[in-house]
Subunit: 325 residues, 2 copies
């Protein structure tokens, strides 16, 4: 089980290897939202998403002999790249199992980072089974994308930075909006803030139709999504919250926000115009919530974790059309 | 005349008001270039370009009574926004004289930042004369875009950061590529590096057809461009290097690099793909030089100052087509 001290230990291992992303703001965004918005652009992290934090944390926590045998991960693309780069920098082999409908840039990048990529069909194959079999046959260590204590600890380092950077700006109380798939980042940030910024509240953000976490927080038990494809927010589409992450989120997070996908495209355009950063749809749902769904938010200040920027050019071009049309 | 101590004094005045932009890198960019590339993304600076540094430096250096009467500036857009925001934050009125063919986003933003905008025709009007008349009639202080010691000092703070951040990465020797209009940033960075990283060499980058600085460095006297419009690199199109900036550049900088505009579009696409930042064409010429014109570079490490990101969506969409076509 991940604890604050595990997150702090991960932060020590990550130091010098992971980027400390800044905390950005723009009065133009504040005007749209009607409140102060601070954006943590994890798209600027190595490999273009926060996932490198968890990848580095997990790899650096393995003993040397285990690490040298290699690791395996399954991911729609951002965890894939995070683990692939962390493995490459540790000199460890990596096998990555990816859905065949992942954005091409993510598949290409994962291969270019030196990993062996195995594709599967998101609708019909069971990625857990594929992962378990490969892991066993080659004696690889499985690095799960979210339900893994050292991965959660790595993602939690983002929360330590948020607490410190917000304090420097005089912000102690805020809603912290986090794009949420399985809940690794959300639960890690929540644990970090519980210890270092207890007046902040973490709220998971998901696309409409894939709001398993929001529904789970309401019902009090793990709910599942009806489908696993058909969203442009591929980075945060998971079947359900994790068995490790959900109890943390249930204790510390909510209520969740379910945001229409089209608003993610509009938010990407605002991030382009006002912050000069590139977000992918699944990395912009939280910004969309802050900008366009403020009626569901009470806090005077909102901290938006903009989780990733690995988007194909044609999808990004669609987002730009929302401001030129 | 700007000195290192003026730059250091400006850094003190800027502290807490100006963003310390990170120093980014990507092994994908290193592979294209065949050498190590570090990118200083000044597009992430307030108002989307380095110009806020000079604006804040100039405004903060005025005495209170002068500042309250107001300031005036002429600019294709980035200096406009930098001065407008710096003035607004100091509670000073600002009049900005802009070419009528400036990107719409720059004109709109300058107005939204609270400044009064006066448009002129870049091909036929004399902006210096317009500025001088308005300045006199309303008793405003003219903040020149580059040939102004306190503006150069402000831009030079970017060089102080480069020296420190490169040192943290173990880099002491490098070619520093700077997009160059009138030479305010280029000369400021050169002065800062002369003091703090003397093994680095600053090289001005300009679009082909507008390489007044490169030609001036060769001839040893101030050369002019034949034309003042017709480039997508609007941010760095100026008639000639400044009378203050040129002697500094002549002593410390060169040789210059003249880069085709189309390569700036290709570099913008790589910044999108690999760094997740938004650059404008005039902010990407230096990256284009590093990525696609390495035959003109000897250094093992290149530091690219990516100077701005205020680009209209349709131009950015054109850059994306360079990787989808």
């Amino acid at each position: 089980m991940t604890s604050l001290s595990m997150i702090e230990a991960a932060a020590t291992r990550l130091k010098g290897h992971v980027r400390r992303t800044p905390l950005l703001g723009s009065q133009f965004l504040d005007r749209i939202a009607g409140r102060r918005i601070l954006v943590k652009p994890e798209c600027l992290q190595h490999t273009g998403s926060f996932k490198f934090r968890g990848g580095w944390s997990a790899l650096s926590a393995l003993d040397e002999a285990t690490r040298k045998r290699g690791v395996i991960a399954f991911s729609s693309g951002n965890h894939a790249q995070g683990v692939a780069l962390a493995a490459a920098k540790h000199g460890a082999p990596a096998v990555i199992i990816m859905p065949s409908d992942s954005p091409r840039i993510k598949i290409d990048n994962t291969r270019a980072l030196g990993a062996e990529v195995v594709l599967y069909d998101r609708a019909h194959d069971d990625r857990d089974q594929i992962g378990a079999e490969l892991s066993k046959s080659r004696n690889l260590t499985l690095i799960k994308p979210f339900d893994e204590p050292q991965v959660i600890a790595g993602q939690g380092t983002c929360g330590l930075e948020i607490a410190e950077q917000a304090r420097e700006l005089g912000v102690q109380k805020a809603d912290v909006l986090v794009n949420c798939g399985g809940g690794g980042l959300t639960s890690g940030i929540a644990l970090a803030l519980e210890g270092h910024a207890p007046d902040m509240r973490v709220r998971p953000c998901e696309p409409v139709g894939f709001d398993d976490v929001a529904r789970s927080l309401i019902s009090g038990r793990i709910e599942r999504n009806d489908r696993m494809s058909g969203s442009i927010c591929d980075a945060i589409i998971t079947p359900s919250p994790g068995e490790i992450t959900f109890p943390i989120m249930r204790r510390l997070c909510g209520p969740g926000l379910a945001i229409p996908e089209d608003d993610a495209l509009r938010a990407m355009a605002q991030a382009f115009l006002r912050l000069k950063i590139v977000l992918e749809p699944g990395g912009a749902i939280s910004l969309a919530a802050a900008l366009f769904h403020g009626d569901q938010i009470d806090a005077d200040t909102v901290i938006v974790v903009a989780t990733g920027g690995n988007v194909d050019p044609d999808v990004f071009a669609r987002s730009l059309e929302t401001v030129t049309a």
